[in-house]
Assembly symmetry: C2
Homo-oligomer: 463 residues x 2
């Protein structure tokens, strides 16, 4: 056969060899060229199409490499048996289900991250740099704990920023804190009882439930989890957020930390899970070192994440295991494959090592501090009506109402005016009649102007 | 103060404003400029340094945004309290522990993927395209099941390539099959008993052990897991690889598949986990549709991955849940955050939708088929000495020895000559004296020349 009708478009952006490849492929797929049929020689086709022979050779090579044609020495090229080849027809995307979430003008979510300040340029640059060469080692299977270089960078960061004492060998990288908690549950086993601060971070509490743990709520006072109450239970694990308790914003003082460590030391198999989820942002005084840094007996499991400090879609968290648990991990669970791609690990490693993270944190801190200050100032009219707490750190604060008003009522009234606020009740494990109505106001996602406008609405409806 | 000594290097690649920023930052961090000290006005400094005023303004803006200086209206700029700011000193990387794995000249690993053929160009292009704009939606938190568009693309692919019947709502995306198995164990609960093919894929078997499942080995015949033996146990879940059993390479015929589905239908709460880990590569005849496609009663949980067909470091797998389990997932476990970044999901979505995956699969298939054919041809001298099985699909085959020779002995002799081969014993759950010595030869990672050379060595030492 010689009568291939290929209409080449010289002005097209698609290279000529690709056009030839596509025509022949289409003809083979549609059956116009049948299995076993001989193709014109590269020389003949080049002449016929008035293109260079190497152009046709490139097209044939592509067809060969994808199995559409076969080459027989001294005989030429033949259309192959293509039934076995992949050919996916594009299908229409199904209708996406609409989110029926209500629209608010202002959303004081305590879980916000300002994504307008995401370091897009640095991310693009690093991502491009890392992919620039064809590096097979980037795509082969990685270390189950995470790449060594990245774990080393995390170690250095944790030591300098958080006073965490560890070696890269103790660090396990995972795609988010939920995953690391699941891995931890394999290491600890699920027959243990976990004590949670009340109120608490519901995500971890629910996850512990999904993993079939018995969960014990422990009340808090102004210094955090009450260790005397903890001692009265048969909990083995205490899950705490000492740097900035979620959601109350309490910073656990050193004395309470020591009590907690003492509790853990009193019995074999007791551990503390320190979730340092948003320790990065403090606006007054120095950051408080992590509880892990005081731990001499290998009792603290330290959890942290880049999802809060960089962006929620960065699925990158880390866990620092104390020696006894590290041994169990290596003996029984280190065969579990890593959940983070090497490319992502390398991007964040260089983000840390080349100073981008330091700059990013300082910028975000300055930004959040301004919003924090604006919010505190805007809340002046509430003095005497509410007690404000949880300020000077994190990205939200709490407003506890003194008077005779119901929390749901406050939330409902705000909603009517397009303002979304969050009730503390949602974070409480044991509800009591003595609980004061309290709302959380997160400011990470709102501009200073929006904060002023939204609080002025709240002033009208809450006072 | 006006006497800032800043030596600008005009010929440097670092922009002037960055140099000014770095000098002042350094002086503030080192204490040369003390907290509260006034900085020169932008006008004065610009004059002093002989640069444009906007250059100095840019530097000051950067310092302001990172909190190193503060601006007071009508008074000027002042060095800030910097104790609270982040400043990470670069630390020396710790010595990495050396892998003491032995070196082989030829490694017939059955888990290989040819990474020289990774589609680097397409990956780079897609990755660049996706990051090109500052898209906040890329970095905000995603759908726990995975992004809808990506799940839709996976559905279309699975329908066309594997005959899997599902909607995007049934698909859950996860960072690797291990993670998805962990998530599945939360949905199923851990009180169930799981039947495994014997020999089997040890990763899943070990993971089931780590998750505290009772595991029941079921012997196989030439058609796969023996369903009559399965029926005699009290297993609730059957974990199978019907498209291409790992490691034996058996393709489960339709009749056995129907028996398995019947077994699952006989009792409430019974399920089949179909791990379709490497169904992409078949060199003879059409691919066999997935077991899931025959399932009318919602009994099959389908697992698949891009780690085998694209690259191991692509941490992207998918699970298709039948309706009853989907309900449990939504009720109790859908709060668990996704483990895959949106950027990665989008790259692979476009990889699928724009035809790159189809081309990649056809190329890899052609490549692996050639290696497969070369290996089969090179193994001719073994006819009569061994039975070859598991050919025509996947990326490895098996050599079962007839004579009186021990498996370890075969492996040891190959090792002495620098050739790594794998014994079937490592995959067996129950060992028996009747087991024939069998080695696995994987060819995905070896060139045709290497295959010939390595087999010629094996011929010398095994015959």
């Amino acid at each position: 056969m010689n009568e291939l009708t290929i209409e080449l478009r010289a002005e097209s952006k698609i290279p000529l060899y690709e056009q030839i490849y596509a025509f022949i492929k289409e003809d083979i797929q549609s059956g116009k060229i049948m299995c076993g049929e001989k193709l014109p020689s590269t020389r003949a086709l080049a002449k016929h199409l008035e293109v260079s022979r190497s152009t046709v050779e490139l097209a044939y090579e592509q067809l060969l490499s994808e199995g559409f044609i076969e080459s027989e020495p001294c005989r030429g090229f033949f259309a192959a048996q293509i039934e076995e080849l992949y050919h996916f027809k594009p299908m229409q995307a199904r209708e996406e289900k609409k989110d029926d979430c209500e629209k608010y003008r202002y959303d004081f979510t305590p879980n916000g991250v300002d994504l307008k300040s995401f370091p897009y340029n640095a991310w693009r640059k690093l991502s491009k740099d890392i992919l620039i060469d064809d590096r097979t080692e980037l795509f082969c299977s990685g270390n189950p704990q995470g790449e060594y270089g990245f774990r080393n960078a995390v170690c250095n960061y944790l030591y300098q920023a958080r006073g965490v004492n560890c070696t890269p060998g103790q660090v396990i990288i995972g795609a988010g804190s939920d995953y690391l908690f699941m891995l931890l549950s394999m290491i600890l086993g699920t027959s243990r009882k976990i004590a949670f601060e009340d109120p608490t971070y519901k995500q971890a509490y629910r996850l512990a439930g999904s993993l079939s743990y018995e969960r014990i709520p422990i009340p808090m006072d102004k210094n955090g989890m009450q260790v005397d109450k903890l001692s009265q239970t048969d909990a083995d694990i205490a899950y705490v957020t000492p740097s900035h308790q979620y959601p109350t914003g309490i910073v656990m003082p050193i004395r309470r930390r020591m009590e907690l460590l003492k509790w853990a030391g009193e019995k074999e198999g007791r551990y503390i899970v320190e979730d340092d989820y948003d320790s990065e942002f403090r606006y007054k005084g120095k950051p408080i070192p992590a509880l892990q840094g005081y731990d001499a007996e290998g009792k603290v499991i330290y959890l942290g994440t880049f999802s809060k400090s960089i962006a929620p879609a960065i699925r990158l968290s880390y866990m620092v295991l104390p020696e006894p648990l590290l041994d169990i991990y290596h003996e029984r669970h280190s065969f579990v494959n890593s959940t983070v791609s090497k490319v992502d690990q390398l991007i964040v490693q260089r983000f840390l090592e080349e100073g981008f993270y330091e700059r990013h944190l300082n910028r975000m801190r300055a930004l959040y501090k301004s919003r924090h200050d604006v919010l505190i100032e805007a809340l002046r009219p509430f003095h005497g009506i509410c007690r404000i707490s949880g300020e000077h750190a994190g990205v939200h604060l709490l407003l506890a109402f003194e008077g005779d008003v119901r929390e749901e009522e406050l939330i409902r009234r705000a909603k009517e005016r397009g303002v979304r606020v969050y009730g503390l009740s949602d974070y409480r494990l044991c509800k009591s009649a003595a609980d004061r109505p309290t709302v959380l106001l997160g400011y990470a996602n709102l501009s200073e102007g929006q904060i002023k406008d939204a609080v002025s609405i709240l002033t009208q409806i809450w006072i």
